[in-house]
Amino acid sequence: MNKLDSHTIETAKEKQNRHKAMEAIKVLNTLKEGFKEPPKAMDYFYNLFEDVYCKAKPLHKDKVKVGTMCIQIPSEIIYALGGVPIRLCNGFYTDDEIGSEFLPQKACPLVKASVGHLASKNLIDKPDMIYSPTTCDQKTKAGTLIKSFGYDVVDVDFPRTKESEISREFFRRSIREFSADLSLKMGKRLSKKNLKASISKIGYAQSLYHRLSDFRKNKTVPILGNDMFLVTNAFFFDKIDNWIDACEKLVDELEQRVKDDIHAGGKISPRIVYTGSPPIFPNYKIPLIIEDSDAIIVADETCSSNRMFNDRVAVDEWFVNDMIDSLADKYLKACTCPIFSKNDDRIRRIIELVRSHNADGVIYQAFAGCTVYELEQRSVLEAMEREGISILYIESDYSPSQQGQLSTRVEAFVESLKIKNRNK
């Protein structure tokens, strides 16, 4: 009797925070200590994630936080209007379990986790409004579900084809509506000056990513794929100025590392291009298995990393309407998300990444329950076969189990790449 009396039961929020902190710290420790010495500049990012997820430190106290789902909402417009964009895509298994109460069991774990996080109302930087583009089925339905939790959710119309003029005009209008709506809510108007400045800033951040990517084309790769995922994940919620400063330092350090010939992988580690469902912190299950199996991820084609930074906006005449339209065009046309009817652009990008980064193989990971990535598997596999590129298709979810099964598959693939390299 005594044992039961003295035991205090945690509240749901306390339990959630503790579990999430455990998940976070496990991954951070693995990154810090489980591999070769990471660049010193990564300390900023390790500390950032620890502050946010373990110490629950809010980052944007006095600013208006504009939550976004997916990557199709132009952050340039949000910054120009004085807001802070917070990407709400979530990677915690804890939140996935909470979300399972609201969504079917077989649903995409990313959507479940995002819904679970918002349902728990236990947020550090709570968004004041949420914009949800109608991308895949599950995200589209989730938008309305999240609204029922009491958040201000606005659907932003997003087309399912991108080749036609109709879809271009459609999305241009959609973004103009979005700008007008946000402008009203922020009580501020877009001006030539503020929009040009934010396009410049985001463009610069993207250029930093390109510089970091270029280092990974080298024979000795100075940074692990997992560390790069952490850097790009930080962009979801970090203060952009701090992020830019930290990246500049990282660029300098990587430049030095390349000169000093420091390689983050092993001597014969096969070079991998990672594509598919986005690995969002702390769900680095598959990338960690890959780099643990003596391979190194040199490039990726995912929306939590490469897709956010790959394409920059060009503007002809710097008028507000022209800038908004150029932004809409770029966010639609360059997008390689599998929600579109055709996916030629995605296949071409994967092939181009394999060639430019001299990769040995591609690992295509799909979340169990993600219809679009699972459906595209066939066309991508066929395309890779035509190009003579080895590819492994692997399905997973957020649960911490199945490590042995997944690592067997990854290891077998890595071993076959090593043998292929040796025979060349």
């Binding site: 410049s200 830019i244 150029s326």
Partner: protein, 327 residues
């Protein structure tokens, strides 16, 4: 070598183009004052009605030459027509359609009108895709007019006013002489019904030219018969606009900046020669491409100016970030 290449690829194309256009404008419009005479086979609208022209638009002599009876036209007596044509081709082959983007005085005037519009803060307008598809055929109809009208006169089907039918309706005839203070072209010719119709059309088209170029970038070039003529021979030219489809991410930046609204630049990832009939080779697309080596202009298969990440970042102001920092 790399430094020179870097300097070229990071160049501010807008400024380069502005000054080169002024240079050619002076040579062509005011050339006579400097005793410059580059002949009569120039592949741009350097209007012959300007008394001080430094080199004449090929269409004026061409129309006169074609106004002969067919048997004379296709005989040895018309060797001068062939010589004129070959001279035209030789001029053209060097710069391909860059003549349009960098040298044509009429093009330069349109760019100045665009500059005025930008200064007034007015936004440009564009064609919708269906409008674009229907209107793009007009330049070939104009080219047909240039060639067939004088020949019809030669065959006795039309009166002599129709020899230079195109020149009568061309805005160049009315606008270009203004720059040397000559307003004699601003009149309606009442001498005959055809002349009245043609000069009236000329006034209308000139009005359209001014208004159109103000609201739409390079409005006239979309209907230009010289552009159509260029395109027919563009495969033989030395300067080429090339695309490497593998590097293209179809982001559409090139299409966004293209004055002529050419979709193929962004959407075609299989062709290597990406010069289309509307293109004026202004190189805005190459300057706006954010990928390395996706678009480039070659001379004799050597890359002259290519798209680079660094060049893009410099031109779009993304090399460092300006603006305020948050706390």
């Amino acid at each position: 070598m790399k430094k020179i290449r870097d300097f070229i690829n990071k160049a501010d194309i807008k400024r380069f183009r502005f000054w080169l256009q002024i240079f050619f404008f002076v040579i062509f419009i005011y050339g006579g004052y400097f005793a410059i005479n580059l002949g009569t086979s120039i592949p741009v609208f350097s209007c012959g009605f300007d008394q001080e022209v430094g080199g004449m638009c090929y269409f004026l002599p061409l129309q006169h030459q074609l106004a002969r009876p067919l048997d004379v036209l296709f005989s040895v007596a018309s060797i001068s027509v062939l010589i004129g044509f070959v001279t035209f081709l030789l001029w053209f082959i060097v710069f391909n359609k860059a003549w349009c983007g960098y040298a044509c005085p009429l093009g330069t005037m349109q760019d100045w009108l665009t500059g005025l519009r930008k200064r007034l803060g007015i936004r440009y307008s564009t064609y919708t895709q269906p409008q674009f598809n229907r209107l793009k055929k007009i330049k070939y109809i104009m080219l047909a007019l240039v060639i067939l009208s004088p020949m019809a006169v030669g065959m006795g089907l039309l009166d002599r006013e129709w020899v230079t039918a195109f020149c009568s309706i061309c805005p160049g005839r009315m606008v270009t002489p203004l720059f040397v203070g000559d307003t004699s072209q601003w009149s309606l010719d009442f001498s005959s019904k055809s002349a009245m119709i043609l000069t009236a059309l000329g006034l209308v088209f000139t009005g359209l030219f001014v208004v159109g170029s103000f609201v739409k970038k390079r409005f006239f070039c979309f209907f230009c018969p010289m552009s159509a003529m260029h395109y027919i021979f563009s495969d033989a030219a030395l300067l080429r606009l090339k695309k490497d489809g593998d590097k293209c991410t179809k982001c559409g930046d090139c299409y966004t900046v293209c004055d002529m609204q050419i979709k193929d630049i962004a959407d075609d990832v299989t062709s290597t020669n990406i010069l289309r009939d509307d293109c004026i080779l202004c190189l805005k697309c190459v300057a706006a491409c954010p990928e390395d080596d996706a678009l480039h202009v070659d001379i004799l298969n050597m890359k002259l100016f290519t798209s680079t990440k660094g060049g893009f970042e410099k031109r779009m102001g993304m090399q460092t970030y300006k603006g305020e920092r948050d706390e």
